[in-house]
Amino acid sequence: MNGTRAAGRAARVTRVAVPVGFLALFFAWPLAAIFGRSLRANALTDVLTDPVFRRVAWFTLWQAVVSTILTVVVGLPAAYVVARFEFPGRRLFRAFVTVPFVLPTVVVSTAFLALLRPGGPLAFLHWQRGVAPLLIAHVFFNVAVVVRTVGGFWANLDPRREEAARMLGASRLRAFRSVTLPLLAPSIIAAGSIVFLFTFTSFGVALLLSDPAHATLEVEIYRQAVNLFDLRTAAALALVQIVAVLAVVFALARAQERRAVAQRLVGGAESARRPRGRERVVVGGVLGATIVFLGGPLAVLVWRSLHVGGNWSLGSFRALGSSASATTLFVSPWAAVRNSIEFAIIATLIALVVGGLASVAIASRPGRSTRSLDAFLMLPLGTSAVTVGFGFLLAFRHLPFGFERSPLLVPIAHAVVAIPFVVRAVVPALRSIDPRLRDAATMLGASPARVWREVDLPITARAFAVAAGFCAAVSLGEFGATLFIARPDWPTVPIAIQRFLSRPGQVNVNQSLAMSVILMLLTVVVVLAIERVRVRDLGEL
């Protein structure tokens, strides 16, 4: 048994050492590199006293607050309809609302450009780049958070409370304001917090849809580091960004803790019913408006990608193989597609192995040490992708064996971003396994490795599948970190789209459209695969 015991100890050490080592190397070290840079030669004080920085910081905060308010206002009617009414295709509608949320930022940006650029249906607004497209794109992205979080909560509120208020003489609006809204407040705040965090750290749409005069912190970090090559200032900005995000995350966690008690008081009852009379108009109107708002830009994207010079044509897609596009990219656009798929597979494998090992360690031994491991693994969640990418740039400039030039750094960065999702998905599944099942398998003659394969793995397979889909979607769409570390001759699809967008000329626009459609299809396929797993096993989304 000593052999078995030694093997067991080795396994326990491995499942802590691998994730900790991986994140120390590929997360903590890059972050430390940023810290080191930003503390050099008064970089921090220079930045903090710079009026440009103040303008950027103020705009970042301002656009995040406005985006959040707009998203809640736009999302609430849809949340209400989904929560309270039964209508044909309700589940499909809920899935549809989620689509923008998982779409890559470059795809959404291209879609809005297709809408607003000359030739687009909304070109008359003359909004090509600037604050308005940025805010609208933020709403487009994050409506799903409000509909799902608030809608899910709303569906569990007993409608009789509101009816009771109506019986006591309150008008419909009054009943909503004095009864329903206070009960919904915690979920609205929860959803709003997430939206705020996303929009505060927004990079892709801010870079591609806003104008240079309205840069967010993320965009400014990128501009300083890559365009101006002022690493000192970029590092100082990144440090400010990290501190701000951590402060926000901490404050939100505290606020949620305080509200958790109130949430538990609400009883659950499925309360959806078919709309009657005038309600049909309201429900139809909300559904129609939401579908047009979310589906419109994507439809325009597809339409324009298939429409060259006023005719239906596959020309944009065919041009992807032409030599002209290869010079823009250094490689063929199809190579970018291949890179994206390969990187997604590698990133998913790394994230599943590292996150899976960490999950086993966290789930197997509750205690202080595993709680701190858990917290450590969640840190990338509170760090923006641009920070990760910039950290890579600073930390991995000189590595042994020329590893700094390895294209593998891209999927590794993607894995860093995706690991927290794996842990969040797998740990609860592992914890849900009755430990006696493992004992039972052992008593029936299964070795520890066989127990893992026969009990833990099949029971958590679903969670792993969902995590894998998530990792793949994250990797396919990842833009902020990739922009810093992708080698020019190894672009991913989002990088290729960005390059096409940054070149003048209709040919480049067409190619960005075609590439965006391809990326959208790839992502939708992956996400549909996840949703299938979920729907089949859980019945409800």
């Binding site: 003659g445 299964a446 070795s447 026969e454």
Partner: protein, 341 residues
């Protein structure tokens, strides 16, 4: 066959097992009986190899098992609340252990059919375990443990979650399967009826130690101490005094065949020890009658003592308020040295 010698398991300061000795003979069933927290499940896990010993040893046929991992011991264990694999159907559960040893699908299927027939679940092969009743799930668990023909079968409160009718039926079936297979077994329970019904010998555990080991009838007739007697559901413990051949109890001076030197003692009357006897020495008033079907339990008050329990057949039951005379079987008046509080 199985020997447990001076087994010790510590959880920090607490000793879950505090020097347990136990020997199981071939074909024998020992019931390990004790309240929760007495260490009986820990003992089972130690024998299974799921729990490491801090001291002592566990041997099988003379060989120390310290170097044999749990999955190599070929012991079967049936868990409280079954622990069936939710991701496999009935046949998949029963087949599980067989898959560890043989790749012959046809042989495995035959064995699955065989044990399912044995536990009365023929035809249940492709049922989902979640669709089964508690009793059926427990039979699947039994079939799963039996399928691999273990050298020793262990039960951890196997009937705990079942209702009365199922308990009775399964208890009889487990007993007959163990007898037929001449399989040695350890049966952990907190229910003395269950322990007495299933076991050749009963080991009573308290605070990590085996305090008494014997055949059910002997354990019942003479519990080793007042605590054990109380645990087995015997009447209240009263302070008494031994004088000459007589025990002075709050119910009067009584004969006891359980000899102890003169002095203060704790006395307990076994539930089957008091009976209505017109020439009995105790005069008592019936204060309560409880009808349980095949018998009636009377609570009879006499002197300064707590109520005595008298079990009679319903036909002979007096009514509440009746005055009766009782005698106590000298063998059923148990006396123990006075416990210092």
């Amino acid at each position: 066959m199985l020997q447990v010698e001076r087994a010790v398991v510590r959880y920090g300061e607490h000793r879950a097992l505090d020097g347990v000795d136990l020997a199981l003979e071939a074909g024998e069933t020992i019931a390990v009986l004790g309240p929760s927290g007495s260490g009986k499940t820990t003992l089972l896990r130690v024998v299974a190899g799921l729990q490491q010993l801090d001291a002592g040893r566990v041997c099988w046929a003379g060989g120390d098992l310290a170097r044999v991992a749990a999955h190599e011991r070929h012991f079967g264990l049936m868990f409280q609340e079954y622990a069936l694999f939710p991701h496999r159907d009935v046949a998949g559960n029963v087949e599980f252990g067989l898959r560890m040893t043989t790749s012959d699908r046809a042989a495995r299927a035959r064995r699955v059919d065989e044990v399912l027939d044995l536990v009365g679940l023929g035809g249940f092969q492709s049922r989902r375990v979640a669709s089964l009743s508690g009793g059926e799930q427990q039979r699947v668990a039994l079939a799963r443990a039996l399928a691999v023909s273990p050298r020793l079968l262990m039960f951890d409160e196997p009937l705990g979650a079942l209702d009365r009718v199922w308990r009775q039926r399964l208890l009889t079936e487990i007993r007959s399967i163990l007898d037929r297979a001449a399989l040695p077994a350890l049966y952990v329970t907190h229910d003395h009826d269950e322990a007495f019904a299933v076991a050749n010998r009963v080991a009573i555990m308290r605070a990590g130690r085996v305090v008494q080991l014997g055949e059910p009838a002997n354990v019942w007739r003479a519990p080793v101490d007042a605590w054990t007697a109380t645990f087995l559901g015997f009447g209240p413990v009263v302070a008494a005094e031994v004088r000459d051949e007589i025990v002075d109890t709050p119910w009067g001076a009584l004969q006891s065949s359980n000899r102890l030197g003169p002095g203060p003692v704790d006395a307990i009357i076994r539930p089957d020890g008091a009976r209505i006897d017109h020439s009995g020495p105790i005069e008592a008033t019936i204060v309560r009658t409880t009808f349980t079907g095949t018998r009636v339990e009377l609570a009879a008050v006499s002197g300064t003592g707590p109520a005595l329990t008298v079990v009679v057949v319903p036909r002979d039951a007096p009514a509440t308020g009746d005055r009766v005379r009782l005698s106590i079987d000298p063998d059923a008046l148990l006396v123990y040295p006075r416990q210092a509080d």
